[in-house]
Symmetry: C2
Subunit: 346 residues, 2 copies
């Protein structure tokens, strides 16, 4: 029930001034050994801790990082957060999380809420709606107010800030090349609508790999799944789109999927149609999460190193926060993807 103790209360109890207490707690040599001991003993007894809010106000920095992501129930994003949190904790920062839920409005509201002094900088990945509307005023405004931002994964070029991305295009290309190496001739892709930047880039890599290897892209086996929230209620609709793809293209001998859910759904459809994996059809997915690891057969995937993306983002942001000098130069860090081979490829 008792409220936290303050310098003022200690000062009153001990009949000294507030500043004496403050100094004594910091072992200032301005203060006599006697007083120091007395004050520290008392402070310890009452478990005194300076009030973070007061410190924030005084120092004009909160030692906390704001993270805004579209969704937290998502292996990729939660792993990024873990990376952020680890680095943040190491450097004495807290992490405050805002969820946009893929909505532009929630993204804006969350940012405005946090930008008014609650945090020292943002790490964020854009919502689909934001990407679609191409409205980035909330980003540019906070940047103009001198608050650093680091964007990761779902970024946008026009905004002038640090960025951490994966080479989506190259990662996809490597995956498709792997399939080609394994002898596949008719490689299908299950991807998203074009406005999702990462989906577009992965499709680009897919096409590049085909071209450079003298294979003609076949529009019949390029499936751009209609947009809806991944993984929840619409799974069965996605499934039937994929089933169509399989049925109409019996000669297809490989699938590259731009995310886990599409990949594992392909697995499911294949099983339903009595196609053996990897013997009849080989499958590679993008994003290495629990679904891929625990799928049966386990999925070969392109790992984005989500943890490293988070860690790197946090490093960049904290560097900017603590080093005003760097505020003009922005860098884009590319995290290398890695092909993790498992059972869904030969």
């Amino acid at each position: 029930m008792k409220r936290k103790i303050t310098l003022k209360q200690i000062a009153r109890e001990l009949d000294v001034s507030i500043s004496t207490v403050s100094k004594a707690l910091k072992n200032s040599k301005e203060i006599s050994a006697d007083t120091i001991e007395k004050v520290q003993a008392f402070a310890k007894l009452y478990n005194y801790r300076p009030n973070n809010i007061a410190l924030s106000l005084k120092n004009r920095q909160t030692k906390t990082i704001g993270v805004i992501i579209p969704d937290i129930v998502h292996h990729f994003f939660s792993k990024v957060i873990r990376g952020i949190e680890t680095v943040a904790a190491k450097k004495g920062y807290n992490v405050i999380v805002g969820l946009s839920n893929e909505s532009f409005n929630k993204e804006v509201i969350n940012m405005e809420m946090l930008a008014n002094g609650s945090i020292d900088g943002f790490i964020m990945s854009l919502s689909k709606e934001t990407l679609k509307q191409q409205d980035y005023h909330h980003l540019t405004e906070t940047i103009n107010q001198g608050m650093p931002i680091v964007m990761f994964d779902r970024i946008v070029k026009d905004v002038n800030c640090d960025k951490v991305i994966v080479d989506d295009s190259k990662g996809a290309k490597k995956a498709v090349e792997k399939l080609i190496d394994l002898g596949c001739k008719e490689i299908g892709i299950i991807t998203t609508q074009d406005y999702v930047s990462v989906g577009k880039l992965r499709t680009k890599g897919y096409l590049q790999a085909l071209n450079e290897n003298g294979l003609d892209p076949n529009p019949e086996i390029i499936l751009k799944v209609e947009d809806r929230l991944i993984s929840e209620e619409h799974l069965s609709e996605i499934e039937s789109e994929i089933e169509d793809l399989f049925k109409k293209n019996p000669k297809m001998d490989a699938i590259f999927a731009v995310n886990e859910v599409y990949a594992v759904t392909a697995l499911k459809v294949a099983r339903k149609l009595n196609k053996k994996i990897p013997e009849d059809i080989q499958v590679i997915g993008f994003t290495d999460g629990v679904i891929s690891r625990h799928a049966i057969p386990s999925l070969t995937t392109v790992s984005q190193h989500a943890y490293q993306m988070g860690a790197k983002s946090a490093e960049l942001l904290i560097e900017k926060i603590e080093n005003e000098d760097f505020s003009e130069v922005h860098q884009t860090v590319i995290i290398e993807t890695e092909l993790i081979e498992r059972e869904s490829t030969l």
Copy 2:
């Protein structure tokens, strides 16, 4: 580059006093229409927003909730967070996340860091180490300082605070009864070591179901997996423990697993040993996450309604924060589990 604008700056520009500006922005009728208009126009132009930190200091409340969990890369916990965040956002609260990573020390450090004014209350689930050591001084101390705590899932009775749990024992019992109804006679369990409270309770429910149905528990088919971090490097060791279980008990016709990973690993082992699911062995897991949903065959599970647990926790906490009167009465809310039937049972 420009720093956020403050009342003081507006006052200086407009050559009025700070308090006049403050009142004008609040449409106080103490202020003349002229002044109000002038001030508001200026404020709008410069996009004035009150500084949250200053408000927190003044109002002695931060409007943010601290959440401490063992791991965020975990479907259950991230779903809880989503529930917390939704309710928090609706009531104007922010969510700050601390990860204990199953370590007692990190849990304590995180709490101390946040307890010094950064937040208005905690929502937390204990780390395994804390459960093991049974040291809860960090909880009781913060409670004594008047900061409300809501514990969920991995709770402990001795601590006097609001709690949100699932009826683990009952949920497990229902699952095992289902298996019995389906004709299973030799139902094995894959569970954790006893100090993990939820594992112990689920095992208890399993035993109850057997007893009440006249089945003798067979210690041979009760596997308490050695403790290690789920899901990461030690998967193959868990797998071989489970494989042993299967091989030594060929008559076993069902498995109840206390979490998703154990359940899906059982699936894998069964496949390896050419046991058909659900024809030869039926499987039910606890915790309804992506792994279960996307497994092939998809897993019948006991859903804990993680989202509701988070939402309820947030409601309880905010009620305590905003209603000092309630601070003495603590309640324990039990969220009903639900059996979600899928392909791994007949």
